[in-house]
Symmetry: C2
Subunit: 204 residues, 2 copies
C-alpha cells in the first residue's frame, strides 16, 4: 500500500508529530476471516518495537488461535531471555469460560467477561501495556455483559500512548464511532462452502 | 468463531480427512487494512506447526512490513538455533524494485516480478515450502506482468500439500474463482481520513 496523503488537516491544535503518534483504537469486525489474525499481527509489530503487549482473549478454545498464542508466548520468552522485542502477557478470560457455553452457566460467563474488562480498566489506568488486543471483545458488549458506553468512555480517557485493538463480529456503532481505524472483513468464499472443515496450520 | 458445519458434502470422492487436509489457495483482497498482516499470521501458524515458510514480497519498501519481516526472521533464526518451529525464507523481489517506481524503469520492475514468479514456480515444483505468502502479488497480475491464467494453472497443478496465500487489491476474478478461501478487507474508517499519517508499531 502506498503511503497516503491526508485528505484534510484537522484544526485540533496538534502538531503533525503529535497527531502522528496519537495512540489508536482499532476495530476488526465483519463475518470474514482474519480479524484476530490481523490483530495479532499488530501485536507482533508492537513486540518488534520493544513494546509491552497484553492479549485478552474473550473466547476460550482448545484449537482456535493456538498458533498465535504459541508464537506470541515464544516471543515473550525470547524477550525474557535475551531482551529482544517486548514482554508479552496472555490473558484468557476465566479459563473455563467459552462463548459457546460448553461449561458453566451463562451468568458465569458474563461474570468472567466483566472481570476481564475490570482487569483491562486497571491495566489502562496503570499504563501496563503499550498494545492491547481485546480478542472477540465485541461479543460481551453485544450480549450486554459489558456496557458499550463505559468502554467508549474508558478508551477515550485512557492515559499515555496505549494502542487498543478490538476484534469480533457485530461491533457496536458507538464503538465504531469512537475508533480511529475500522476494517470490516467480508467472506467472499470459504472452504466450508465446499464441504471442507478447518485444518491445522490454517485455522489454528 | 465457532467451528462451522459444512453446508453440503461434495461428491468429489475424497474422504473427510483428505478433504480436510487439502492444501488451500487463500486470497486477501480489498482496499482495507490487514491483508498482509493476516497473511503473515497464517505464516506464523505454519511456523508453529514446524512447516517451512517462504515469503515472496512483491513490494519493496523501507518501512511497511518491517515488523512482520523482523518477527518472521527472528522465528526463522530461532528454528535454526533450537529446532523450534519451522524454517523461514524471505524473498524480496529484485530488492531495488518498488511498485511506486521510485527507482528503475517500469520494464525493470516487470522483469523483477517475472523473475519472482519463475522462482515461485520452481519452488512449488520442488515442494520447497509448506506455506507460501505471495505478498502484493495481485499487482503484477493486474498490470499484465505475470499471466493470470498461468498462475491459476500452476496453483491448480501444484504437487503435494502446499498452502499459498496471495494478498493485494483488485484480485483478478479468475484468481478468486480458483481460490479456496477469499476474504475482502474493507475500509470503514481510517486515521488518514482525520489527517493522521501512518505510525511506528501500527503501520510497520
Amino acid at each position: 500500500m502506498p503511503q497516503g496523503v491526508p485528505v484534510h488537516v484537522p484544526a485540533d491544535g496538534l502538531t503533525t508529530r503529535q497527531r502522528r503518534n496519537r495512540a489508536l483504537v482499532v476495530v476488526h469486525t465483519g463475518a470474514g476471516k482474519g480479524k484476530s489474525t490481523a490483530a495479532f499481527g499488530l501485536a507482533l509489530r508492537g513486540w518488534n518495537q520493544g513494546w509491552a503487549v497484553g492479549v485478552f482473549q474473550f473466547v476460550k478454545s482448545a484449537k482456535w488461535k493456538v498458533g498465535e498464542e504459541s508464537v506470541l508466548r515464544t516471543l515473550g520468552r525470547l524477550h525474557a531471555e535475551t531482551g529482544e522485542g517486548g514482554p508479552v502477557t496472555w490473558h484468557k478470560m476465566g479459563e473455563g469460560w467459552s462463548w459457546i457455553q460448553r461449561e458453566g452457566t451463562q451468568e458465569d460467563h458474563a461474570e468472567a467477561a466483566r472481570q476481564g474488562w475490570e482487569q483491562i480498566k486497571r491495566d489502562l489506568a496503570a499504563e501496563t501495556y503499550r498494545v492491547y488486543v481485546l480478542d472477540e471483545f465485541t461479543y460481551p458488549m453485544k450480549w450486554g455483559w459489558v456496557d458499550v458506553d463505559e468502554v467508549v468512555a474508558v478508551l477515550r480517557d485512557r492515559p499515555g500512548s496505549q494502542h487498543v485493538v478490538i476484534t469480533g463480529r457485530d461491533a457496536d456503532p458507538r464503538l465504531i464511532e469512537a475508533a480511529d481505524l475500522v476494517t470490516e472483513m467480508t467472506k467472499i468464499k470459504h472452504p466450508m462452502d465446499a464441504g471442507q472443515k478447518g485444518q491445522r496450520g490454517i485455522e489454528w
